[in-house]
Amino acid sequence: MGLEQFKNRNVGTQNYTKLDLPRSPVTGWCKFKQVVSRTLSGELFVGLGVTMRIMVQSLVGGQSHATLYPFEKLPISPRYRAIHEMLRLLESGHYRCIGCGLCEKICPADCITMDTAYDKNQRKEVTEYTINFGRCIFCGYCAEVCPELAIVHGNRIETASEQRASFSLFDDMLTPIDNLNLQQEYQGFGAVTPNADENIKKTPLAY
C-alpha cells in the first residue's frame, strides 16, 4: 500500500472487495432457526471425538505430544535471548570483556553497570559488572553492540530464584574456568556472520 493511500482517511470511499455472505438473520424467528440448525448439526461431537481419541492414545498408547517438563526440554534457538553470559577467551581463559562500556551506554533499560580500573599490567580491568534483571527487557542490544562477543545471551531460561541478584554479578555470568572447554560460540545477535571475511578490507598494515 502506498503512503498516499495510507494517509487517505476518508473511510468508505475506498474500493473494498465485498465477501459473498448470506444475510444475517434479522427477525427473532430467523435467529431461532439459525441457533437450532447449528446446535443440531453434530459438528460439536466431531471435535469432541478428536479430543477423546488423542486422550486415549496418550493415556493408553503412550503417544503424548506434550513435553514432559522439567524431565524433557525443547532445544532453544541460538537467537533466543535468555539470561546473559560472559564468555572467556579460549586460549588464555581471561574474560573477554574489555570494559568499553558500550553495553552500559546502549542499554535502553539502563540496567548494566560496570566498575573498571587501571591494573598492574597497565590494562583496563573490569573489577565488577552487574545487570539489574529486575529492569532488563532482554532486548539483546548489549550482545549486539559488544565488540568482543563477550556478553551474549545464553540459553538459561529457568530464572526462578529467591533473588534475581543471584545471577547478576560478573562471576555469576562468567563461564566457569573449568568449563571453558564446554563454552559455546554465540550465534545470535551481534555474532560474526558466516561471510565476515568477504566483508573485511585488508589494511596495508599487514606486513
Binding site: 570494559g99 551506554k105 566498575d115 573498571t116 587501571y118 589494511t203 596495508p204 598494515l205
Partner: protein, 769 residues
C-alpha cells in the same frame, strides 16, 4: 583594533584586524578542522589540517592573518585530499583500542577520522615500541596513543610557563622516500615529523619538574595524556558535567565538575575529574586535581543544629575566611547589621583596607584593569606577590605576555625565584629587601610616570638610585631597559598580597593611585584568597574582636565546618550554589556538583532572623552600591562563546570620581627585616584546607626553603615567632632562591595568621630539632 571584512565560502563576515583566519572563522561559527592549534598559544603547525585557500593560495588557517577583502575557501578538492591523507597517516599504527581508551567518545582523532571520512588506509610503516610512563604523581603518558600534535608542549610553554615537556626522538623507521612524490605534500611533511618524534619531560629525566597543573592532559586530543587517578575509571559519556567556579583561589576559573555514581556498591554521586574550557582558561593543579573535598553527611543533625542556633544567638564574633560565597558573606553582614556581631576575616580585612585607601587616593571604586587586559599587555610588572605560588592566573598572564606578545617584564619580590626569569629573555627580577616595596613602586613611577603629573611629595623622592637600592646593577639595568621598552605600548602592573599585609599599606595604596594617575601603567590587584574581593565589598569587617566566637571553617568556640570536624556540618564549595567574586572583578556562578542533605547557613539565618528559602535567593540582594547587580542567580550564564568572550555571571560596576592630589609619606630605606625571615606563602597547588583534603594534592605542610638554605637548616626545625612556635619539616623547593623560608597558611587549624599578624614577613629564629 579595527574591523575588517572577509569572505569565507562566499559569505561576508566582519572580524578584527590581525586575527588568524582560524580564529576569525571560529568567532563566526565557521568550522575549519584543526588539531594542533590552541587559541591562546602560538601556532605549532604540527597537524597541517587547517589548510584553507585564501585569495587563491593554500595557507594554514592557524598562522595566516586575515586581510581586508580576503576571500577564503575552506574546502577545495586538493585540500580535501590533503586532509584525508593527513587523517589516514594519523591512523597509521594508532592502536585500535578505542574500547578501553579514556578519550573514546570525546577523542578528536575519532571525530576527525569520521568527519573527514577515512574509510580505508593507504599507508603503513613498522611501529616502534613506545612505553607507557608516569611523568609525575598525577600525569600518565601513553606514548602509543600519542599523535605528537604538540598541544601539550605548546600549552606548557605558552600558557603555563613551565616548559616541562618537549618533543624528543622516537627512533622510528624512516619513511620510504618514494612516498614523497606519491602522497599529498603536507601529509608527507606531517608524517615525516610525526614518525621521528614523541613527547618526553624536557629535563632529560623520566619525570617532569613542573607545577602539576594537568593542563597538558586537558588539551590532549587523544588518550595519550590522562591523569593517573582517572585512567580507566570512567567513560566520558557516563559523566555528568556540572558547570561551576573553582573555589581554591581568587582566579575563579570556570570549571566543570564531572560526576557519576561512585561504583556498583555505592550509588552516591562522586566527582571523577574536573575539566575546563582549555581554549579560554587554564587551570592550576589545585583546580584540576583538588576536587574531592566534599563534606558528606548522613542527614540533618537536629541536635547540632539546635546548639548552633543557641550559639548564634549568643555570638559576639563570627570568624570566617574567604572560601565563602557572596550570598553567605551577605548573610553574615546581615547578622552584623541586625544582631551586632563582629566579623573577622583576616585576609579580606587587609585587602579591604588596602582597597579603601586606594579608592580614597584614586577616586576609583575598584582597581581599573583585570587580568585579561594584563594578558593583552606587552610590558608586565609584578610587585608584592610570589607569582608562582599566590595566584596561578597572574603567573600565567605574566608568562603569556612574554611568550605571546613578545613582551617584557619586571618582577619585584624578596623571595628569589628561578622560574620567572625562564618565562622570557627580557625579564629583570629584583630580589629586594623585605620592606623595600615602596621603593619598587617608586622605581616604577620613576620609569614610567609623566613627571608633570606627579604630586610634589612623590617628585622629591625620585632622586634615589632605586635599581641599586633594590639589589640591581644600574648600568646593566639601564641598558637592558632600553631593549625591553622597544615597541612596547601597553603597560600593566600586578599587585599582590605582600602590599596588603604591610605596615605601610596605606602609603603603598597611594603610590599605586599615583602610578595610575601619572602614567600609562594599568594596575590589577590579586585578592589574597578565593572570595576576598567579594567579602571585602560585601562585609563590614572588624579588626579585632573578643567574646564568644563562631568559627566558619575557622577556629572558634562553636565551629561550623565543611571539613567534617566542626560542631555543625555545612556544605563544602562543591556542594553549594552561589556566586563568587574573582580577581577579574567578575561575579561568577557556581553550582552544586554533589548532594548535601544537612543544614546550611541559610537554615540558621531562617531560624534566627528571616531568610528566603534558598541560599541563591540572596543573589539579587547583593549590595548594588558596591558594584553588584540585582539579578537572579538562575539568570547568570557560565560559559564562553566561540570567539573566547567570557560569558560568565556579570562584571562589577566600577565608578570613578575626581580626587585631590595625594600626599605620600617619605620612604624610609632603613626599615628592613634582617636575620632569618619567614614568609607566609603556600606551596603551589595548595591554597586552603580544602585543597589539602583532596587526595591528589600531595604538597605537605612544612617549611619550604631553597636547596642551599634547606641544607643549612637540617631536616626538622622549630620556627620561633614572637607569638609562638612551629615545628616543621624542611621541604626543598627547587624553584626558590635565597635565604627567606616559606611557611604555608593553608591549614586554618595552625593559626598561621595569628603568628604573622599584620605582615607577610616575620623575623624568626629557626633551630634544628
Amino acid at each position: 583594533m579595527s574591523q575588517i571584512n572577509i569572505k569565507i565560502d562566499g559569505q561576508e563576515y566582519t572580524t578584527n584586524e590581525g586575527e588568524y583566519i582560524l580564529n576569525a572563522a571560529r568567532a563566526n561559527d565557521i568550522f575549519i578542522p584543526a588539531i594542533c592549534y590552541l587559541t591562546r598559544c602560538s601556532p605549532t603547525l604540527a597537524c597541517r589540517i587547517c589548510l584553507v585557500e585564501a585569495d587563491g593560495k593554500q595557507v594554514y588557517a592557524c598562522n595566516a592573518k586575515v586581510k581586508d577583502g580576503m576571500e577564503i575557501t575552506v574546502n577545495t578538492p586538493n585540500i580535501l585530499k590533503e586532509r584525508k591523507a593527513i587523517m589516514e597517516v594519523y591512523d597509521v599504527n594508532h592502536p585500535l583500542q578505542c574500547g578501553v581508551c579514556d578519550k573514546s567518545g570525546e577523542c578528536e582523532l575519532q571525530n576527525y577520522t569520521l568527519e573527514i571520512g577515512v574509510d580505508s588506509q593507504s599507508y603503513s610503516i613498522p611501529d616502534t615500541k613506545r612505553e607507557t610512563t608516569n611523568w609525575s604523581s598525577v600525569l600518565h603518558y601513553d606514548a602509543g596513543l600519542c599523535i605528537v600534535c604538540e598541544r601539550c608542549t605548546t600549552a606548557c610553554k605558552d600558557m603555563i610557563g613551565d616548559a616541562a615537556i618537549k618533543t624528543t626522538k622516537r627512533g622510528g623507521a624512516a619513511l620510504d622516500k618514494g612516498l614523497k612524490g606519491a602522497m599529498p605534500k603536507d601529509a608527507y611533511a606531517m608524517w615525516n615529523k610525526l614518525q621521528k618524534s614523541v613527547i618526553a619531560p624536557s629535563n632529560g629525566t623520566e619525570f617532569t619538574d613542573c607545577s602539576d597543573c594537568g593542563e597538558c592532559a586537558a588539551v590532549c586530543p587523544v588518550g595519550a595524556l590522562v591523569s593517573r587517578d582517572f585512567v580507566y575509571t570512567s567513560n566520558a559519556w557516563d559523566l555528568k558535567r556540572v558547570p561551576a567556579t573553582c573555589a581554591h583561589c581568587s582566579s575563579g576559573c570556570q570549571i566543570y565538575y564531572e560526576t557519576r555514581p561512585a561504583s556498583i556498591e555505592n550509588r552516591d554521586e562522586k566527582i571523577f575529574r574536573v575539566t575546563n574550557e582549555w581554549n579560554y582558561v587554564s587551570l592550576c593543579g589545585a583546580g584540576r586535581f583538588g576536587y574531592d573535598f566534599e563534606n558528606r553527611v548522613e542527614g540533618k543533625d537536629k541536635i547540632a543544629f539546635a546548639k548552633a542556633i543557641e550559639a548564634f544567638n549568643k555570638a559576639e564574633v563570627i570568624h570566617f575566611n574567604s572560601t565563602i560565597t557572596n550570598e553567605e558573606a551577605l548573610m553574615l553582614q546581615t547578622l552584623k547589621e541586625k544582631k551586632g556581631v563582629k566579623l573577622i576575616n583576616r585576609e579580606a580585612r587587609a585587602f579591604q583596607r588596602f582597597l579603601n585607601c586606594y579608592s580614597k587616593a584614586s577616586g576609583n571604586s575598584l582597581y581599573t584593569t583585570d587580568f585579561k587586559e594584563v594578558m593583552a599587555s606587552d610590558f608586565v610588572m609584578s610587585v608584592g606577590s610570589s607569582l608562582r605560588n599566590d595566584n596561578p592566573n597572574a603567573r600565567y598572564a605574566f608568562n603569556s605576555v612574554q611568550k605571546m606578545n613578545k613582551g617584557a617584564g619586571l618582577y619585584f619580590h624578596p623571595v628569589g625565584d628561578n622560574l620567572i626569569p625562564s618565562f622570557g629573555k627580557t625579564i629583570e627580577t629584583f630580589a629586594h629587601k623585605v620592606g623595600h616595596e615602596e621603593a619598587a613602586l617608586l622605581m616604577i613611577i620613576k620609569l614610567f610616570a609623566d613627571e608633570s603629573k606627579l604630586p610634589s611629595s612623590v617628585k622629591e623622592q625620585l632622586d634615589t638610585d632605586f635599581v641599586e637600592l633594590l639589589g640591581g646593577d644600574t648600568e646593566k639595568f639601564d641598558k637592558a631597559m632600553v631593549k625591553m621598552l622597544k615597541k612596547k605600548e601597553n603597560f600593566s602592573l600586578m599587585i599582590g598580597e605582600d602590599l596588603y599585609f604591610h605596615e605601610k599599606a596605606e602609603n603603598l595604596a597611594k603610590l599605586i593611585a599615583v602610578i595610575e594617575a601619572s602614567s600609562d601603567v594599568k594596575v590589577a590587584m590579586i585578592p589574597p584568597k578565593t572570595n576576598s574581593l567579594g567579602v571585602a565589598l560585601i562585609c563590614d569587617l572588624d579588626n579585632e574582636a573578643s567574646g564568644y566566637t563562631i568559627g566558619y571553617n575557622e577556629s572558634g568556640d562553636f565551629r561550623l565546618s565543611a571539613l567534617g570536624d566542626g560542631d555543625l556540618d555545612i556544605p563544602a564549595m562543591n556542594q553549594q550554589e552561589g556566586t563568587l567574586t574573582n580577581m577579574h572583578k567578575r561575579v561568577t556562578p557556581t553550582n552544586a556538583a554533589l548532594e548535601y542533605n544537612g543544614y546550611e547557613l541559610n537554615d540558621i539565618m531562617g531560624e534566627i532572623l528571616s531568610a528566603p528559602k534558598e541560599t541563591i535567593d540572596w543573589t539579587a540582594y547583593l549590595p548594588t552600591d558596591r558594584g553588584f547587580k540585582a539579578v537572579e542567580f538562575d539568570s547568570l550564564p557560565n560559559g564562553y562563546t566561540n570567539d573566547g568572550t567570557e560569558n560568565r555571571g556579570y562584571l562589577l560596576d566600577t565608578t570613578s570620581t575626581d580626587v585631590d592630589e595625594v600626599t605620600v609619606d617619605k620612604f624610609d630605606d632603613g626599615k628592613t627585616l634582617d636575620g632569618d625571615i619567614a614568609y607566609r606563602c603556600n606551596p603551589q597547588r595548595q591554597f586552603n584546607d580544602f585543597s589539602d583534603k583532596s587526595h591528589q594534592i600531595f604538597e605537605e605542610f612544612g617549611l619550604y626553603a631553597s636547596a642551599s638554605k634547606a641544607e643549612s637548616l637540617g631536616k626538622r626545625v622549630i620556627v620561633e615567632f614572637d607569638k609562638g612556635n612551629l615545628t616543621l619539616d624542611v621541604i626543598v623547593d627547587e624553584r626558590m632562591e635565597g635565604d627567606i623560608v616559606a611557611v604555608p597558611d593553608f591549614k586554618s587549624a595552625e593559626n598561621i595568621y595569628e603568628l604573622f599578624g599584620e605582615s607577610r614577613y616575620k623575623s624568626v629564629v629557626i633551630r634544628e630539632v
